[in-house]
């Protein structure tokens, strides 16, 4: 028994003395605002105040707070400084998914209590212990710094002015006060706990022993589930023709982390269960962790129907690349490699399932509720209607929460045992089991003529796709389409291959392989510009894709190609930065300082939506009899802001203020299918569906009133008013009108599916209806004696077609850029070695640069109000721009990511040796 003060009130914990304080808060005290991201002090999500000082509640035994005062996010009273802090977080867009926000708020509150007017360095020191994977930290720093000053005012736009307005997130308040419910925050009290038994070996056959005997000797464990318990198909996969991943491996586990069984029982027993007691025998095989080993002669075949362990190949060809290279005045060859990259969302996979008669209801975090539902129906052998998915808030996804993870285990347990069943992955389990960014091995030869125009481009990429298909086919298909970058490339050949290995399944991660290929292409472009003696930006502008010029797949856009607009927007910053670096370096050399500055640039293009495949979204919008406007918004908001942006679009289409629209989330019983949150498609595809549905609803209302098309719609309680241009006003008493099956007096439901066409055998066709474009300038400093890189400033120019919400556009850019910094400088997932957040490093608040953004708007013909997707684009240019800047600063050419200090140092030494310097 422990007595302490919690949020100002005396409380007593009855839990054992050794229980983690975080667990006491979340369970016994019923305060789930304190998040658990790692249970190791690596992420700070669990921060609380202990006698006013921030600590990690996951590292504190409850007995240790006897007599002390503990303050959790729930106890940060929303008055005075805390109210300002909350408001500032919202006004700056400092909370995206919101999972780190309680930790950030707690840490910031301690700082502000001690120092009401901190500087940037103080804020970094105070918040350095809390990891955020969404925001790129910059807006968090700004939000804390602004607390002492005048409040930043958020607009509340009128009808017709919603699109383009930098309103704050519509769903932000519960994030800053800690009340938002994530996957593990509201599980039923009586839920059983599920623990998945996973392979500790990279590649191993196995045999499960005596289950009945095991159950008999382990009271409290109610079931052992394995492949034999799957009622339907023991297989799932995000791309049905390639589906190959078993819920439970049957005889052979293909990677470390592969699930082989699950135990279900009383939470306490399951928690204390020692996995060494599970009856299983392992027979490990020789491990193939690299494509080279998996493609070697005689390599063991991992999937019966996949010769050579090859999952799929991708190919795009146009013109005659060999001939163009032979004729080129200059030619460069480059080989780049990138490792596995972990998504490292701070919320691990978590959720629960309940059985309701012959239906299964799954609650939890996801990026793709409807796809989860389809997979679950197959696995459970049930009709689609029998599965309901109720998404919780999603504490970060970035691609990995597109694949099903925890869902089959809780669903099966609830189905078999008839009781609610829950799970929350540990950090280690999340890292071992979940998908990763594909490691790449890329060879590129690219030439140009004497004027600098690209002449010949030959690309070969090998992608390590891990044990199962996941999104491997998408990566293999996307890369050859995008590898040219947004440049005119008439003679082009790109091959890609996705190879199975005994590594975690490589899947979707912001950019689907394009960030990897951009490293090769953009670094090669710097080498070509150097051979030409040409300015690197001028070289890119010379080759930039333009309206009316075919892409490498032969697609021609007559409008909307915005890459040169992005480059143009960066001209001044580029020349200033280059001159400033030169002058800095001159001084540094004369001062004998080890520091060198460098400037790099890189670009991106990215097709929004599925590649040459249908990917419709459906939006429903209605008006109730009591005058409520409801948008059934099924595009999962994983922090990026779909709830806000799509509502802004819908509101303008209908002609009402955005703050009058109520959002209904992605519950599959209530909301039509908006597809998955991936491929930068939600603003474009679901946004377009929202626009169409808003317009249809408007049309219906205006027709009902028989008023002109420009009439103004207003709602005053249950009265809808239509005011036409002539001054006439019509009042419609909604309460008198008939209500449809969905509860609406007016309702519209529209679907949008972007027009694409299949690619032919040479990869020619229309893969995407819309591309977005962008470019970034990186200014950085290299400590040449230690190889440490400090990114000083990043200037971005992204063509978003139309910035539906400029504040959220900046948030997406900064978050993606900082993931790009991680990719360039530190991130390296090694199965069995970096399965935690202290060996696997992601950027902290101290690793982020100053930002300057130019939002470019070259309207797209297809996109809603001209908008294009953005989410993935933003990550693509960052890593190559950093590598180019390191080379500019020091001469060091690093093409093997990440550019850790030891590699930078070695590359500087190699560059100096090549120039005959010591």
């Amino acid at each position: 028994m422990t007595c302490f003060t919690l949020n100002g009130k005396p409380v007593t914990s009855q839990l054992p003395a050794s229980t983690r304080l975080s667990d006491v808060l979340r369970t016994e005290m019923g305060l789930p605002g304190t998040k658990i991201g790692c249970n190791a002090g690596d992420c700070g999500a669990c921060s609380v105040l202990l006698d006013g000082a921030p600590i990690c509640s996951c590292l504190t035994a409850i007995a240790q707070v006897e007599g002390a005062a503990v303050t959790s996010i729930e106890g940060l009273h929303a008055d005075g400084t805390i109210a300002k802090l909350q408001d500032s977080f919202l006004a700056h867009g400092a909370a995206q998914c919101g999972i780190c926000t309680p930790g950030m708020m707690v840490a910031a509150s301690a700082l502000l209590a001690e120092n009401p007017a901190p500087n940037r360095h103080d804020v970094e020191d105070a918040l350095g212990g809390v990891l955020c994977r969404c925001t790129g930290y910059s807006k968090i720093i700004d939000a804390v710094l602004a607390v002492g000053g005048d409040a930043k005012i958020s607009p509340r736009p009128q009808a017709g002015q919603n699109v383009g307005s930098p309103i704050r997130h519509l769903d932000g308040q519960p994030k800053v006060d800690g009340s938002l419910i994530y996957g593990d925050d509201a599980v039923p009290q009586d839920a059983l706990l599920v623990r998945v038994i996973r392979s500790p070996h990279h590649y191993s056959s196995f045999k499960i022993g005596d289950k009945a005997g095991f159950l008999a000797s382990h009271p409290g464990i109610l079931a052992v589930l394995d492949a034999s318990d799957i009622p339907g198909r023991n297989c799932f996969g995000v791309i049905p023709p390639f589906a190959d991943q078993p819920v439970f491996a049957e005889t052979t586990a293909l990677y470390r982390g592969d699930a082989v069984a699950a135990i279900v029982g009383d939470a306490d027993v399951i928690t204390h269960f020692d996995e060494a007691d599970f009856p299983i025998t392992w027979i490990p095989h020789e491990t193939m962790l690299t494509p080279a080993s998996a493609m070697a002669d005689g390599a063991r075949k991992m999937h019966a129907n996949r010769d050579g362990n090859i999952l799929v190949r991708g190919y795009v060809e146009t013109g005659d690349a060999d001939q163009a290279l032979a004729a080129a005045a200059h030619k460069v060859e480059i080989h780049t490699t990138t490792p596995f990259i972990e998504h490292a969302y701070i919320e691990p996979e978590a959720g629960y399932a309940t059985r309701e008669g012959n239906r299964i209801v799954i609650h939890g975090c996801t990026q793709a509720a409807q796809m989860d539902r389809e997979s679950l129906a197959e696995i459970l052998g049930m009709e689609l209607d029998a599965i309901r998915v109720v998404p919780s808030a999603c504490g970060g996804g970035f691609g990995s929460k597109l694949d099903v993870s925890f869902q089959p285990y809780v669903a099966l347990a609830a189905w078999v045992l008839g009781r609610p069943a829950r799970i929350c992955y540990s950090r280690g389990e999340s890292m071992r089991a979940s998908t990763k960014r594909h490691p790449s091995d890329i060879w590129l030869t690219v030439g140009c003529d004497e004027t600098g125009r690209i002449s010949g481009f030959v690309f070969d990429g090998i992608f390590n796709t891990g044990a199962y298909a996941s999104w491997g086919p998408t990566v293999a298909n996307r890369v050859p389409i995008h590898a040219s970058g947004p440049y005119v490339t008439k003679d082009y050949r790109a091959n890609s291959v996705a190879v199975h290995t005994n590594a975690p399944p490589a899947g979707a991660f912001r950019g689907f392989g394009v960030p990897q290929s951009a490293v090769a292409q953009e670094c090669a472009f710097d080498l070509l510009a150097e051979k030409l003696g040409m300015d690197r930006l001028a070289f890119r502008r010379l080759n930039a894709l333009k309206n009316g010029v075919p892409t490498v797949t032969g697609q021609v856009f007559n409008s909307g190609v915005g890459i040169d607009d992005c480059f143009a927007a960066l001209e001044d910053s580029w020349h200033t930065a280059v001159a400033s670096a030169a002058s800095f370096n001159q001084t540094a050399i004369s001062d004998d300082s080890p520091w060198r500055r460098g400037v790099g640039i890189a670009s991106c293009w990215y097709g929004c939506g599925n590649t040459s495949l249908p990917n419709p979204s459906t939006m429903r919008m209605g008006i109730t009899a009591d005058g409520k406007i409801v948008l059934h918004q099924g595009a999962m908001d994983i922090g990026q802001g779909a709830n806000t942006v799509i509502t802004q679009i819908a509101a303008d289409a209908l002609g009402v203020p955005v703050h009058d629209v109520h959002i209904l989330g992605g519950d599959t019983d209530l909301t039509p299918d908006c597809g998955k949150t991936s491929a930068s498609r939600q603003t474009f595809v679901s946004g377009k569906a929202a626009m169409l549905s808003g317009m249809a609803l408007r049309d219906m209302v205006l027709r009902h009133g028989n008023v002109d098309a420009n009439a103004k719609i207003a709602l005053d309680g249950a009265v809808l008013t239509l005011a036409d241009a002539g001054g006439g006003t019509l009042r419609i008493e909604l309460a008198d009108m008939p209500v449809n099956d969905h509860g609406y007096v007016f309702m519209a439901e529209e679907t949008y599916d972007p027009p694409t066409s299949p690619l032919d055998e040479k990869g020619q066709g229309v893969p995407y209806a819309v591309f977005g474009y962008g470019a970034q300038i990186v200014e950085l400093s290299v400590d040449a004696a230690l190889g440490r890189v400090r990114v000083d400033k990043i200037t971005t120019a992204h063509d978003v077609g139309r910035a539906i919400n400029p504040l959220l556009v900046e948030g997406q850019i900064e978050g993606g850029v900082v993931q790009g910094i991680g990719m360039a400088l530190m991130e390296d997932y090694q199965p069995g070695r970096t399965e935690n957040l202290h060996d696997y490093l992601i950027p902290t608040i101290g690793d982020v640069p100053q930002f300057d953004h130019v939002i470019v708007e070259v309207a797209d013909e297809e996109g809603p109000y001209g908008a294009k997707g953005l989410g993935e684009h933003v990550l693509i240019p960052t890593a190559p721009a950093i590598l180019n800047a390191i080379r500019h600063a020091t001469g060091a050419a690093i093409y093997d990511l990440p550019a850790t200090p030891d590699k930078v140092c070695a590359a500087i030494a190699a560059a100096q040796a090549a120039q005959g310097r010591p």
């Binding site: 839990l15 054992p16 003395a17 229980t19 983690r20 667990d23 979340r26 369970t27 016994e28 658990i36 991201g37 790692c38 249970n39 190791a40 002090g41 690596d42 921060s47 000082a53 921030p54 990690c56 590292l59 504190t60 035994a61 007995a63 240790q64 006897e66 840490a107 301690a110 970094e124 350095g128 809390v130 706990l193 939470a267 306490d268 928690t271 204390h272 799970i423 540990s426 950090r427 280690g428 230690l786 190889g787 440490r788 400088l825 530190m826 090694q830 070695r833 970096t834 202290h838 060996d839 490093l841 950027p843 902290t844 101290g846 690793d847 850790t900 200090p901 030891d902 140092c905 070695a906």
Partner: protein, 293 residues
């Protein structure tokens, strides 16, 4: 991560005196829990079970104080306690290390002595404490014994603690608190980072600018952080003004770094030499400033 709570009580003993702690240990082995920042992460997500001795409530061990002969750092004193302590400039290196331990959250809980007992090759506290000639006070039912820090940490995760023993304090002889000190840690990111290499330096310089006392140690480049005798000998009784230029790679031969996910061994050696040079250079500048003033 499962947010589980346990009905299976650990054998958890929380004490408020060293005597009670020793008495508990005399009855059988226990995991000693202070700040919890190593004990809990080691469990991954498992609950804390087994026999626990919580010493975080021993107020007498929570302080840092000078007793006339020694500076004593109690076993329950946190890095935060050190950062806030009024101690001589020779502790500046240790304070700099304290500010680089994990994060503010970790510094507020983690103890200096826990850092030693955890015996990681990358323990931030060890190099600066080696330059202060710290001694480890080990308590047991048999009384107190003292070991030099270098004899206490025996290897990766290995210490000289025997059955029934615990570290009660560190003591730093007054004679070793002369002069100035510095610390540099090299990692692949800011905050929450495990060192690739780190260097701690303590220097006493006479009025003529001659180095009279020098202590230099390197961490994360051998199984246990090390003082570099060869380097100290080479620089003792020489002029500080040119010391940094006389820090040469051959003086680091005593180190035995490894290749791992954080860096190559070759880089660790090179970087250790570089950060050591910078520590000397920083002291050169400070001394020059002091003379000018």
């Amino acid at each position: 991560m499962q947010g589980e709570v346990s009905a299976v009580a650990a054998d958890y003993v929380r004490v408020d005196s060293l005597e009670a702690a020793i008495a508990a240990l005399a009855k059988g082995p226990r995991t000693i829990l202070a700040g919890g920042t190593d004990v809990f992460p080691r469990l991954q997500d498992r609950p804390l079970t087994g026999a626990i001795l919580d010493i975080s409530g021993i107020a007498a061990l929570g302080t840092i104080a000078f007793d006339g002969d020694y500076w004593r750092i109690g076993a329950a004193a946190s890095w935060r306690t050190l950062i806030d302590a009024d101690v001589p400039p020779a502790f500046n290196g240790l304070k700099a290390a304290a500010r680089e331990v994990g994060s503010v959250q970790i510094q507020n809980r983690a103890t200096i002595i826990g850092n030693l007992c955890n015996a990681s090759p990358a323990a931030d506290g060890v190099p600066p404490l080696l330059t202060l000639d710290a001694e480890v006070e080990i308590a047991s039912a048999a009384g107190l014994r003292y070991l030099p820090l270098s004899a206490f940490i025996l290897g990766n995760r290995k210490t000289a603690l025997g059955d029934g023993e615990m570290v009660s304090a560190l003591r730093i002889p007054a004679a070793s608190t002369a002069g100035q000190s510095g610390f540099l840690k090299l990692g692949a990111r800011s905050y929450l980072v495990i060192s690739i290499s780190m260097a701690a330096l303590r220097l006493a310089v006479d009025e003529a600018g001659i180095i009279r006392d020098v202590a230099l140690s390197i961490g994360a480049c051998s199984e246990v952080a090390k003082r570099l005798d060869q380097l100290e000998d080479a620089l003792r009784d020489t002029t500080l003004a040119t010391a940094s230029s006389r820090v040469t790679p051959d003086l680091f031969a005593g180190l035995s770094p490894i290749d791992d996910v954080r860096a190559t061994a070759a880089y660790r050696l090179q970087a250790s030499c570089e950060i050591t040079r910078r520590l000397f250079y920083e002291q050169q500048l400070n001394f020059a400033k002091g003379v000018a003033a």
